[in-house]
Amino acid sequence: MNNNGTYRLGVDIGGTFTDFVLIKEETGENRIGKNLTTPEDPSEGVITGLTNLIEEEKIDPHQISTIVHGTTLVTNALIERKGSKTGLLTTEGFRDTLEIANQYRFDPYDVYLEKPEPLVPRNLRFTLDERVLADGTVSKPLDRGELEERVRKFQKMGVEAIAICFMNSFINGVHEKEALKIINETAPEMYVSISSEVIPEIREYERTSTTVANVFVKATVERYLQKVTQRLQELGFEGNFFMMLSNGGICTVETACEFPVRILESGPAAGALAAAMYGEKGSFPNVLSFDMGGTTAKSCIIENNTPLKVNEFEVARVYRFKKGSGLPIKASVIEMIEIGAGGGSMAYIDKFGLLKVGPHSAGSNPGPVSYGLGGTEPTVTDADLMLGYLDPNFFLGGKMKLDKDAAYKAMKEKIADPLGIDPVEAAWGIHKVVNENMSNAARIHAIEYGKDLAQFPLFAFGGAGPVHAYNVARNLGVDAVALPLGAGTTSALGLLCAPLAFDYVRSYYGRLDSIDWQEVNRFFDEMIKEGKELLVKAGLKEEDIKVSRSCDMRYVGQGHEANVFLPEGELHEGRIEELEAVFEKTYQELYHQSGPDMPLEALTWRVSLSGPKPQIPLESFKKDDYEKALKGEREVYFDEQGGFIKTPVYDRYLLGFGFQTQGPAVFEEHESTVVVGIEAKDIKIDEQNNLIVRWS
């Protein structure tokens, strides 16, 4: 690309690779880079990759106006328990909140189940004889002497970070703030997080868990970000540096250092944002993002160009795919489902004589049998290879040869012979079963949000997503699939679609007919004012800041709250009916039925402030001659045809806007392959370079 102008850069540190995407702001031209993640010092990989990319493109670091950074660093620190030695201060009588948790067994049948180990062991959990009541009044003041004694004890024990979470501090954080002040004075070396700042939300377990996680990783994140920003400066970078948030916004380095729990899920969030961005440009306001990689498949519901968000998730699960086995984190996050279904997922026959696929994965080493690295169990990739979906000579653009015979042999021995079927039938079985697993998970996910998936075209990416999208779509009864160009690196692009954003929450319980509206307006104004100041400091103009207010409400006595967007303007008694109507509408959408005639109660009030979404002009290239794109033909298996049929194979990079064909067809990229069957009557490339597949 022409090396004048300004650029934006996205950097996403994943477990194995660090991905880079460079976009020229004026034209939207983009370049992708990739290098190995350097876990000991992740900034190393970032700087190396960045330097390589800009050298290749012959641009200067000062031409980069903005860098947006996502990382799995925080998540990994929690999974590996590599953080500061952390102590917890809590209210007398509640020393074991982290351990008692929700007193729930996430698997009712497993008597051997392991619960997640708390980040703070009991001997580092101290209580203080203070108390704030449910209405916010102080019934027992904080005792400074007692606090100082506890802190000295922490110091003696080598504690480096302290989490403070007192009862009812979500409604009145006075004791937490006081304690913070005292610790800052008497033990300034300590990292401290207080729950009334991290997440002032009701429910002591989730709040404590979040606050503890926050301070546990604070030092790690701070050290890392200082290093990266310093090295970028040394390179000559003078632009803005932002961190990706779990909820699809971005924030400044200061915010990320203060609230590291908010950047936990930045990688997957970027993928969903990319899907939303392509959807918006391609006139698909509603899509189901479908990101299938080597070990897992992730999906996110995107409606009206906005990914579905929730306010709680889990990290560091004891059992990766078991909900409830992790540490709860209260923070705004793009809601994803993730299941153990990827190219490396292994197939086996279970005790009922049934063919099962996953959740165990052969990973990338030894990987699928066809990698020839010692894998012995047939995987999804092996099945896809046997079905002609993958070209053994063009895997990763030909960088890696796949051994089809080895895959065939393993399939025959391990699956086909024991079941008394043909190896190709077994391969098709694996393909079908893994698709069914993904569709079932998506359906169950959708019903929790009252969505009908038939209305959500698939937006497929990731290494294996495009291979499976066509059959998953058939399974879900969806009539369109969209596939971006460069499906293997779509996620990184999402980093550059994120607006500056900040969220606030406040718990304040009351029935709508008796709540103190003045108080509600007061804290809303306070939160909005603070948020605007923060965003203006980060470089936004005040008039560009979008504010949206919402509230978690429910019918009195119902335990499941629904998050409802509030109308603009001051709230007061006279507007209760209006609020009830908004709630009723949301309730209808969620449950497809109207609720009972009951009063409403509110629990948590939320504000989200965001700047404008950065626009990425996608370069559209039209070519006249698509003959060259046709690489040849190969035998590809389609069940609707009853077996293998000769199928044209296209070089995806040589196709552009205006191209049109119908199924069956295969489109190859370096990192992925799109497979489309005969039912797809209408395949074309749109102006944004997405491959659009329709059934009619």
């Binding site: 007193q103 729930y104 008597v111 009541l133 006595g557 119902q558």
Partner: protein, 565 residues
């Protein structure tokens, strides 16, 4: 199902789809229900039955009380309304404790599913409603009539038309008509979701009937279940325990006979039925019995007709585990929850290397009602759990439910919604039964009511007299304690008016230990001492581990001496 062949792949896909359907059914119910127990603890179930009434798939939900009861109840519905009397748009309902899951609070709704006018399946669900009139959720009733409204098996919708009279009867007989009726609607929605998805599946795969699919599922499940049972040595294993009962202890006596690939559990020798609401109908007895066996023997075999066939459970009619009408049954969970531990205890004698010590077993329920200091009436229900039993290679879990799986409610939520002040909710040190693997610790709760008038406490507690036993040399856990904060002991089940200034303290029982405590890794003992969960005295006394109180280090010399006697 004409030409669709059920190979390993097709069956995997259809079976998986069925499990997804019942899961969707259950989620739909959980998300629209009002009663806290339904949503937070999943006290509900959802299932699909083939046209001959065999349950072929059931959602995995929170409490085991529905495991067999759901599968059995359909027979009563089919007797009351044979196929010839059903038409599209019909919905059946009952809360008969003997037909379903053991107390009037549980409504079961069954919807026949029709495809082109032909009955192809039933979808069903059971859920716990907030109120059913009568004396309320309690152990105190003297017969089932006192316990509330009884709805025999009836059509609540007939050909899509609502049975207004029945709605009105329910509405006028319960204390909280809106949430109760709201829950019933949620139940109808739940079955409709299941039905619609099932028909979609049949369309997609070209099935005219799910009978062949059902047969195959049942056949394979039964085979797997029988194979698991065969791993237990043949023999007759017994277990006999005492529980607090109301005023006099209740005996539970189980004779478990393992013979080849079948298990028979007979409760002959258990106490006769009680005149208080702690009687357990046979359906519920079967549920907790099966659950216990499955946890130990075959946790990965799904619940359906096939998994129940190899297990036979009997109890003499008129006994506490098979009471005759009109026995009171409202708090049937109180005794019922012990049954899983009882059969696990019996099987542990056959398979000590897989055995599990007793846990707290029976869920503690604290109900508080009265008028707050702001003159508002309130009624709060608090669920509490103790420690679970130890297993070979694994300590019991602290403050964790088993066998029932009820989620606790946050102290802050309790304080914000009810006029309560929770002074303490913390683990209870030294409450776990010692062992090479120790039991789980119980926990302590101290609760006050913000009121200037006396309030009513309705407790449902057990194991205050009869602690959880250890196995293979493990020690018993601490029995539970219920008292006023002033120290006066409370009756574990009798309702009581409490002076407003007095608080309630409950200490939940600890789990039993596994194996000789002297064989426990001294470092593990030290870990518990450092955590202040085991005292230095108990470390020496129970575990034979001497720990220096100043340095918190193990005194190896002394330890050796104690341990070698």
């Amino acid at each position: 199902m004409s030409d669709v062949k059920l190979d390993a792949i097709q069956l995997e896909i259809l079976w998986n789809r069925l499990l997804a359907i019942v899961e969707e059914q259950a989620r739909a119910l959980m998300h629209t229900a009002f009663t806290t127990i339904v949503r937070e603890s999943g006290d509900l179930s959802a299932g699909i039955f083939d046209p001959s009434g065999n349950m072929i798939a059931q959602a995995v939900t929170g409490t085991p009380g529905h495991i067999n009861s759901m599968a059995i109840c359909i027979n009563y519905f089919m007797d009351a309304f044979p196929e010839s009397e059903l038409e599209p748009g019909d919905v059946l309902i009952t809360n008969d404790p003997w037909y379903t899951s053991g107390h009037l609070h549980d409504f079961t709704v069954v919807t026949p599913i029709f495809k082109e006018g032909k009955l192809v399946a039933y979808s069903a669900n059971t859920t716990h409603v907030l109120d059913i009139g009568g004396i309320g959720f309690s152990t105190d009733a003297r017969d089932v009539y006192q316990e509330g409204l009884y709805v025999p098996i009836m059509k609540i919708y007939k050909a899509g038309k609502r049975n207004d009279e029945l709605f009105e009867i329910i509405e006028k007989n319960v204390r909280a008509p809106r949430p109760v009726l709201g829950d019933l609607y949620a139940q109808f929605v739940c079955n409709n979701v299941g039905g619609a998805r099932l028909l979609e599946m049949m369309g997609e795969f070209g099935l005219d009937s799910i009978q062949p699919l059902g047969n195959e599922i049942i056949k394979r499940t039964e085979k797997a279940m029988r194979e698991s049972i065969r791993t237990i040595p043949d023999g007759v294993y017994t277990q006999n325990i005492l529980t607090d009962g109301f005023d006099t202890p209740i005996v539970i006596n189980a004779t478990v006979t393992v013979s080849g690939d079948e298990i028979t559990v007979d409760y002959d020798g258990s106490s006769p039925q009680s005149d208080r609401g702690i009687n357990v109908v046979l359906n519920y007895t079967k549920a907790y019995t099966t659950f216990g066996l499955k946890c130990l023997v075959s946790p990965d075999v799904p619940n359906n007709e096939g998994s129940f066939r190899p297990i036979k459970t009997t109890a003499p009619e008129g006994s506490i585990l098979n009471p005759k009408r009109p026995a009171p049954v409202g708090a049937r969970h109180n005794i019922g929850h012990f049954l899983s531990g009882v059969v696990i205890g019996a099987i542990s004698k056959a398979l000590p290397e897989k055995g599990m010590a007793d846990g707290y077993d029976s869920l503690w329920i604290t109900q508080l009602s009265g008028v707050s200091d702001k003159e508002e009436p309130f009624s709060a229900v608090i669920f509490s759990v103790g420690g679970t039993g130890a297993l070979p290679g694994k300590d019991g879990l602290s403050a964790t439910p088993f066998p029932s799986n009820v989620r606790g409610v946050s102290a802050e939520v309790l304080e914000s919604v009810y006029p309560l002040f929770i002074k303490q909710k913390e683990l209870w040190p030294d409450s776990a039964g010692a062992g090479c693997y120790r039991g789980g610790f119980g926990h302590i709760m101290e609760i006050y009511v913000n009121s200037d008038k006396p309030y009513l406490l309705a407790p449902m507690y057990d194991r205050t007299e009869h602690p959880a036993q250890g196995i293979v040399g493990g020690k018993e856990g601490s029995p539970g304690i219920a008292m006023l904060h002033t120290g006066e002991k409370l009756h574990p089940k009798r309702r009581l008016d409490v002076e407003p200034e007095k608080g309630i303290i409950i200490k939940l029982p600890g789990g039993g230990g596994y194996g000789n405590p002297y064989e426990r890794d001294p470092y593990k003992v030290l870990e518990d001492v450092i955590s202040e969960m085991v005292s230095i005295e108990k470390a020496a006394e129970d575990y034979g581990v001497a720990i220096n109180p100043q340095t918190l280090e193990i005194d190896w010399g002394k330890t050796k001496k104690i341990r070698n006697g």
